[in-house]
């Protein structure tokens, strides 16, 4: 009797232990941790797939929607106007963060862009998890998309998206290689004062990738005032504008001597596709190439 009892007891104990072990192993698998490095090289650890995500930058909003995460997004900024569904989301700030509205949404992950250190620290103080999306060039845009996809467990869509982008970029590069001539290009950021975008900006990178030569290549800083004399000296073949009507530029006083004006080579580019480092940056690249080389059309 005693012996049987003992066996039964031992068996029960072993069973319970093994069961607990197996259950534990299986359970641990279900709540696996997601670890990702953001663009500021900060390690992010999430307990699981985030359910409520806030985007504090239009490009991130575009990335999230491109990844098909429409339902996950619970907050955007007033600047987030693409895709159209983004406008229906709760707006939780513009350049400044409306911390109350952010808290109210009870997000488990917040995406923001670089250069908002104070707001980022404040959100950290409030116990929120923040990821910084801050790509500096075309390749980094795709890298950012990849890790954003990983942390939101949309890796498949992400890979697909990036592969498509990569293919289109390759195509543009191939075409650029085919043109023997490298047209000089000026992208006008603003007219008064005349401002241009130099190295370190996306537009500069896009012009080069598309096969053009940016006359603002020597600028000491990414964004700044560009001397009109320099413009006339370089006399670009193409002028790109985003913030002005190109017809108005064509009529601009004193500019009539410029080659681009004489040739009517002033093209308008949608600022959103060249300034937002998101999926549509490839649209921007294609648009720039089409503007520089009319033959592409």
């Amino acid at each position: 009797m005693l012996r049987i009892n003992l066996i039964v007891i031992v068996a029960v104990v072993v069973l319970v232990l093994v069961g607990a072990l197996v259950w534990g192993l299986l359970g641990g698998g279900e709540t696996k941790k997601i670890v990702v490095m953001d663009d500021m090289d900060r390690e992010l650890k999430l307990a699981g797939r985030p359910e409520r995500v806030i985007s504090l930058a239009p490009n991130v909003t575009e990335i999230l929607f491109a990844l098909g995460l429409d339902d996950m997004v619970v907050g955007v900024t007033t600047e987030c106007d693409y895709p159209a569904q983004a406008r229906e989301k709760r707006q939780v700030g513009d350049i400044n963060v409306d911390f109350e509205a952010v808290l109210e949404q009870e997000p488990d992950l917040i995406f923001m862009m670089g250069g908002m250190e104070e707001a980022r620290e404040r959100l950290g103080e409030l116990g929120l998890t923040v990821a910084v999306v801050d790509p500096k060039d075309l390749d980094e845009v795709m890298e950012s998309i990849i890790w954003v996809a990983r942390i939101t467990e949309a890796e498949d869509t992400g890979t697909e998206l990036v592969e498509d982008m990569q293919a289109r970029i390759e195509l543009v590069r191939e075409r650029a290689g085919e043109f023997e001539h490298e047209p000089t290009v000026f992208y006008e950021v603003w007219d008064e004062p005349l401002m241009a975008a130099g190295p370190g900006t996306f537009i500069n990178a896009l012009i080069r990738e598309a096969g053009g030569k940016d006359i603002a290549q020597d600028m000491p800083q990414p964004w700044g005032v560009f001397s009109e004399e320099k413009l006339f000296q370089e006399d670009p073949e193409v002028i790109l504008v985003s913030w002005h009507d190109y017809e108005q530029v064509l009529k601009r006083e004193g500019w009539q001597g410029l080659q681009a004006i004489k040739d009517k080579r002033v093209e308008w580019i949608d600022p959103d596709i060249i300034a937002r480092p998101g999926p549509r940056i490839v649209d921007g690249l294609e648009a720039v190439q089409a503007a520089i080389f009319p033959e592409v059309h």
Binding site: G93, D94, D98, E100, L103, E118, L126, G224
Partner: protein
């Protein structure tokens, strides 16, 4: 005399408005919270109200406290500078504090410096140091044979201010795309400020206030002019030093945590003088309370007028303060300017 109200009545009214304002401000914001629920949410939140408590305790409360502290500081400092410079149109930024702090803050932004000193981040620390350093420099510059005549202090301050403003413009050009941050800083804002900033400002607030309270009566006499004050028994140079030190401490620390919130230091002491007379023993604390009240309301408006967009509080103070100021000037023109 000025106004029809006795000083203690004005005191009580201001204090009441301040407390009531703080309570209302707690209920106002981009997330609606019914004010009847406030006590419950604050002290005994239900299971669904944890976030609301967080919003109240971590967002609204520190902003309310901070805006009151900054308003108090600027009101008092403005009052001191107006008395000291014998000019009811002076403000705390007149002698170069703003430009000095601006250069400091912009340097931090442009150069992207990141460090912590005394619990202050690079921006606030450099703003604080810039403001303090500028006034110190101006004070030394204005010294003539062991004395610092108020006129040369003012002139040196304005001149140095111009110089630093030019430096600031250069830095702003260098800012390029991040100009909006500068803009918000220049207009003043409490966006994203919390208990950290409250902790930062409090020691300077207390020290500055203690210094100024001891000098309130001397300020009454300094208003008559330095020589007149001397003849009435004021130790003029010592008193001036303390007044400048106290007011600078208050202003520089306020600027460090909130940027250049304009108008408070100019019109609040003025309004209070119209209402309660020029005795600084009454006027200093009253200007402080008035400044606190004004900025509390200003900030509440700034964050709840058009959510989620937040207006710079300086815009609100100018929009709200300007017309009221003009009204008071017109109404009391005769008593105030004499002769009429």
């Amino acid at each position: 005399m000025q106004g029809n109200l006795s000083k203690s009545v004005i005191f009580i009214i201001t204090l009441f408005l301040l407390l009531a304002g703080a309570f209302l401000a707690l209920a106002w914001g981009s997330v609606p919270i019914p004010w009847s629920r406030l006590p419950v949410i604050l002290f005994n939140p239900g299971p669904e109200e944890g976030t609301l408590q967080l919003i109240l305790v971590q967002l609204r409360l520190p902003r309310i406290v901070l805006s009151m502290l900054v308003g108090f500081s600027l009101g008092v400092a403005g009052c001191v500078f107006q008395g000291l410079l014998r000019n009811p149109m002076a403000d705390p930024y007149l002698v170069g504090i703003s430009a000095g702090a601006g250069v400091g803050a912009l340097m931090a932004m442009v150069l992207g410096w990141q460090f912590q000193v005394l619990g202050l981040g690079a921006g606030p620390f450099l703003a604080f140091a810039g403001g303090l350093g500028t006034v110190l420099f101006v004070y030394r510059l204005a010294r003539v044979g062991g004395k610092v005549p108020v006129t040369s202090f003012l002139l040196a301050g304005v001149a140095v201010g111009f110089l630093l403003n030019a430096v600031m413009s250069v830095l702003m050009v260098a800012m390029g795309r991040d100009l909006h941050r500068v803009l918000y800083w220049l207009l003043g804002s409490f966006s994203g400020r919390g208990w950290t900033q409250v902790q930062l400002i409090i020691p300077y607030f207390i020290i500055g206030l203690i210094i100024l309270v001891t000098q309130a009566r001397n300020l009454n006499l300094l208003v008559l002019g330095e020589e007149a004050a001397l003849h009435l028994g004021v130790n003029v140079e010592k008193s001036k030093r303390l007044l400048i030190a106290g007011a600078t401490l208050l202003t520089a620390s306020a600027v460090a945590v909130s940027g250049l919130v304009g108008f408070v230091g100019l019109i609040i002491p003025h309004i209070m003088r119209i209402l309660a007379g020029p005795d600084h023993r009454v006027l200093l604390p009253l200007s402080g309370l008035g400044g606190a009240l004004f900025l509390l309301w200003g900030d509440t408006m700034a964050r709840s007028l058009m959510p989620p967009v937040e207006l710079p509080v300086g815009v609100i103070t100018a929009l709200a303060g300007g017309p009221y100021f003009l009204y008071l000037l017109r109404r009391y023109r005769e008593t105030y300017f004499g002769g009429g």
